[in-house]
Symmetry: C2
Subunit: 344 residues, 2 copies
Amino acid sequence: MHADSSPQQKPGSPVTLEMVAAWAGVGRQTVSNAINSPGLLRPETLERVQRAIDELGYRPNRAAQALKTRASKLIGYGIRDSGTGAPNPVLDQFLHALAQSADQAGYRVVLFAVASARDELVRYQQLLDEHGADGFVLSGTERNDPRQHWLHDRGVPFVAFGRPWSGRDVGDWVDVDGAAGTAAAVRHLAGLGHERIGFLGWPKGSGVGDDRARGWQGAMLELGLSTRGRRAESPGDPAAAESAAERLLATGVTAVVAASDALALGWYQALRRAGRAPGPDAAVIGFDDSPIAPLVLPALSSLAQPLDAVGGECMRLLIQRLNDRGRPREHVLLAPRLVLRESQ
Amino acid sequence: MHADSSPQQKPGSPVTLEMVAAWAGVGRQTVSNAINSPGLLRPETLERVQRAIDELGYRPNRAAQALKTRASKLIGYGIRDSGTGAPNPVLDQFLHALAQSADQAGYRVVLFAVASARDELVRYQQLLDEHGADGFVLSGTERNDPRQHWLHDRGVPFVAFGRPWSGRDVGDWVDVDGAAGTAAAVRHLAGLGHERIGFLGWPKGSGVGDDRARGWQGAMLELGLSTRGRRAESPGDPAAAESAAERLLATGVTAVVAASDALALGWYQALRRAGRAPGPDAAVIGFDDSPIAPLVLPALSSLAQPLDAVGGECMRLLIQRLNDRGRPREHVLLAPRLVLRESQ
DNA sequence: CGAGGTCGTTGGAGCGTTCCAAGACTCTAA
DNA sequence: TTAGAGTCTTGGAACGCTCCAACGACCTCG
């Protein structure tokens, strides 16, 4: 045994199971067992094989494993064409978390570009046919998401970041508890002495927006504070947000919880126009803790989505499902974190 | 021929080359040729095979291809731990472009998480050993980037988003021409009648920052405008940016080109403190066109990085290198686009 | 009419792994 | 000493594809 060559680190030299086996003086399958079911080997043999693996720097060839086991150990994530629309600032952190937990479980995340919702289904089909992915992570779920039904109908494991706001609940999901976030913001502001706390939100009808509004309303109720006329709606653009904030300001509101940081900036603008500034007597808390928040003056307090945790949970649920397709559906709701800055 | 079953769309039914061959009444290899070297087939045969492929919905098994050809058709992208630092807002669009052009070339992007710079090399080694990636895309290059040398030394194809600001130039890269961007901004402002145009930048020493400063300086020179005392430096935080902007304002500057949108907001703040507002008589142009830009009031003009193009070029260069490892190095410099909003 | 060339097409082999059934070895009991 | 049970280890086969060398059909030319 222990033939001629010394351990090679050259990337070009492919170390195979067979080579490790020869080096350790055992059979091919024994090495495979050492990796996949170490319990089968006598401790002494296991140790010898382990050493050979380390010395040769052996790593199983993924393609060969995939071919044999019919599992690519790849998780697909369709990255949408953000187009001219606002870039998704949260993607970065979410993907990092996803990739990290995937790595830990021996999986890896494979990206594919999708142009439209229809296109996305075609791409799923393609990846599945090619055995290029074992499961999928979705984000940006829509009402009655066609993707989820498509995947579910075919028995393909997947997990969604985002609740199905309506329609059949058809798979595992992880989401951020927007209501818990706005409720926490209300309680914080109330703790500071505010009683007239307004809500600056999007027009009703969006799942996320309504959820965030609900949290504000619930907490106000709980604290015995009135919500009458304390809610203003606006689409996301700065001008609309400002005028909505102005309406709120006119009703004598002393603090505001906003459904997004962009909306919170409307409050900044309305105050500024009135010759005032955000602060203890005119507080505001935004949502999403976007990159803007620390940059404006005064720095904006906001509710940060726990994206690391979201990504980690998504991967955990997905891998559990990959290992047991029959298990009952599981849902995870994570509370956002209140990041306090100068706007209170 | 044409046995029993009709075209199946079930994802669970794996259609193989052999099945297509049987269906079309030809040999196994002929189908392979139809896909990989269609020129070898008689048109009539090709058409017959094509039809069989379509009818059966055949897609080559990636794992089998990878195993045989020793090419995974996967491109690795290490996604850094953004940690507590600011999320990288550009990642989204860049990754989308990357994934899209990869798809078009029959490749796919595989993500892996990296904790530290040292860790990144380990992960490269791992992916290569596993045959889990054929090449890599790097971003966020540093001075004398160890990753690039590591990959180059081992003959691994890669492309970097970002120039090597110093040190040996060791591979292909694509970058955004910051100097061209700030120069264009200067020319635009000069065209509006401004003569005292300042530059609000980061402390000297960063490749990106110095590049952007250089563009401003060059254009000023070219236009015969003085740069003396017109440059202020500041780290990124809002307070520092504001005081740097104040210094600039005090020297009588009427317009400012900033190295980032965050710095541009310093100008907003300084003006506001002086009872003024950004606009025609106190213009500012930021850099990166971050999500903040359209949200502030007045909306911030900025230089948008052409991330779609960057991603596309990265993939193009990488694939060219994968196909011909001996080709000379290629570099691509892309000009940012001036996005005009209300801040002029 | 058969030799020589060209073009299309074919089956065998093998990529590196895991599954499977069978083999070798060790230990105890008859 | 040998049969039997149990534990560890082994080589053959197969996953689906592409490379290779060879084969058959067809055409042209002597």
